[in-house]
Assembly symmetry: C2
Homo-oligomer: 393 residues x 2
């Protein structure tokens, strides 16, 4: 079993105040940067000016594009990649949550191909396999949320506006060369976002553990991430300025990101189904997982009772008077109770999903998320996915 | 804080039967390999023929040099690097324990410099800083012991026959491109070697935890490695053919190796002092650590009571009626009791060290092991080291 593969040089800086490392390291990536920042918030919070200043202090010229929206669209990437080329930038800097980081990756990749449309490289596109592509320009990411784990993975999730799909794409060259995880940038995240991203971390870690490509290495990271989420998410939601809780959530997020990241484990059917909801509705990523997770667990627990029983234990419901099979079957209930603890009890219809969307969403699962789906411990066919979506509606 | 940096592409394969991966991946490193194997044992156990066969099946031509002795010497590296060049090899394969893996690294490095003597690049040599050197040829390592962690680090430890020093050297290019950790190759390790290498794993993990460059990432790996050693070393020693115990020890070793490996944590004064014993006496690596560790712990525990108290807890002596300072101070006793559990109760004189060797050993600590020494949580000067050696004699 390949325990892990770190395919590219990558440095991760973690800790309060680490954003200052931008000044020290940015110039190693080039002379001119395209700074891609989440819309409005980064400017309002002063993070945009702070990072721009640090980049300039390191002698890097900065072009700012602070118009990254949640669930970035292909057309945005195309435009920003052209800007990168017109301005003759050397590298991208993603400042924000998953959307900004994924944008920085996709723009660095598309610009390296000389621009055009990113759709060509998304699932279903002419070159979805990324055959014979050039390596992306260097990427730096600065995460301001404890969710998505994008700082630890090669993946970028871009919405295809032609077919409303939301595939994850990436190769070795789209791993950030430098990733900065600074919990001080997370102290002002509103509770709803802390909750949604925190739940996303929980799913990354739990899915990495119930993936058929899990290894002892990813298990170690996933278990630690789940433990940290359970210990700290509640405080991070209700006491946003608690630096310790923010730090632990940020670290849990990075661990989970590495667990599902390059050459290690991956997500499973939960993410495959959740992403396809995201493509249709623009619902928050974490909530889309929450809406499909319980049917998924109820359906799949028997595929590996040892691992699902361990999920129940990790979530704090390890009643050892129960048999392993009983504990495994209970994993869906354990997850439901865990989500309810954070006020998350959600059905797909709450996210704006209508019954008629189930067919296209199912198409999307097999067309754009076949990879994660194939990491599930139980093989799921089209009928299974339709049934799970109906149950989750 | 830099959590981690993986500076080179590296793949680690772990698990029973994984040695078969040699056939699948060897050809990605080149057409002709210099197979450097531990003397006698690899041939006797049939591992040499097995690996040679797998290399040839993958289409790789093989030159065999199965004369690697414990604590490899500069003169051996010089000779083997010349053989590599004369035979126009493309990469090295190290088959055995730390000595064979370190030899594979040093030979791949020296050959890339065009041969000559490896002493030039060892501490105190003309180019000990490895300034402007060429990258090493690709390296594959196949570890047959659960100790040294060499498969996870860039370090190679070569004995300098001119000054009897035993420095650790290495750069990003001397991390193995492919590392194979197959516990099935460890089932016949004699108890004494299992004990010595297992103790080495314990020290790598514990030192990584009490290093001043420890991170949450290395802490996670180190704690897991210590837990696995305590759970499995006894069985591995007394029931060598127990594959589960061998697998867990092998995994603990790899985790500890990564923890002290590239860009993560490192070892401390214990390894600095132990290596310098090894240079003088040829004593087994693990035992040299054991002989100096207790004085080191007694001397340094007050430098970070939280971490040393945690060491005591990790070793299973966490009496919570004690204060943190008391637990920290107890860490030396906890380690002593732990070592005794494995029948290890050793003084330097048992390893052949004489009082007159303390001065040259101390010189060697500062000349060749200043790096690990500087990772200690307490700053130790020359007088401190002399005193610790005298206490350990």
């Amino acid at each position: 079993m390949k325990i892990f593969e770190f395919a590219v040089p990558t440095k991760v800086y973690f800790g309060a105040g680490e954003v200052s490392k931008v000044e020290e390291h940015a110039s190693s990536l080039g002379k001119k940067a395209l700074l891609l920042a989440a819309k409005d918030t980064m400017r309002q919070l002063g993070f945009l000016d702070k990072v721009k200043g640090l980049l300039e202090k390191s002698g890097v010229e900065v072009v700012v594009s602070d118009d990254v929206s949640p669930n970035p669209r292909d057309v945005d990437i195309d435009r920003q990649a052209q800007l990168f080329l017109d301005e003759k930038c050397d590298f991208t800097v993603g400042l924000g949550g998953g959307s900004a980081m994924d944008t920085a990756k996709a723009v660095a990749f598309l610009a390296a191909q000389g621009g055009g449309t990113i759709r060509k490289y998304l699932a279903g596109g002419d070159n979805a396999g990324l055959e014979n592509v050039k390596d992306a320009f260097p990427i730096m990411v600065i995460t301001t949320t404890a969710g998505t784990g994008s700082e630890g993975t090669p993946w970028w999730v871009i919405t295809n506006t032609e077919n409303h799909e939301k595939p994850g794409t990436g190769n070795d060259s789209t791993v950030a060369k430098i990733a900065i995880v600074d919990p001080e940038l997370m102290l002002t995240i509103p509770p709803s976002v802390t909750r949604g991203t925190g739940i996303d971390v929980l799913f990354h870690a739990m899915e990495a553990y119930i993936a058929n490509i899990a290894t002892p290495f990813t298990d170690l990271l996933a278990k630690e991430a789940i433990k940290l989420v359970l210990e700290n998410l509640d405080t991070a939601i209700n006491e946003g300025s608690n630096l310790e809780a923010r730090s632990q959530m940020a670290w849990a997020n990075t661990l989970a990101g590495i667990a599902i990241g390059e050459g290690t484990s991956g997500t499973v059917g939960i993410h495959a189904m959740g992403h396809s909801i995201g493509g249709q509705t623009d619902a928050p990523h974490g909530m889309t997982m929450a809406s499909v997770a319980l049917p998924y667990m109820r359906k799949t627990w028997s595929a590996d009772t040892a691992r699902y029983a361990e999920v129940t234990r990790m979530l704090g419901f390890g009643d050892e008077s129960k048999s392993e099979a009983e504990l495994a079957e209970y994993s869906a209930v354990a997850l439901e109770k865990t989500l309810e603890k954070y006020g998350v009890n959600i059905k797909m219809r709450d996210l704006g999903v209508k019954e008629e969307m189930i067919e296209p969403m199912t198409d999307s699962v097999f067309k754009t998320m076949a990879g994660p789906l194939s990491c599930s411990l139980m093989e799921l066919n089209r009928e299974d996915i339709v049934a799970l979506y109906k149950e989750a509606l």
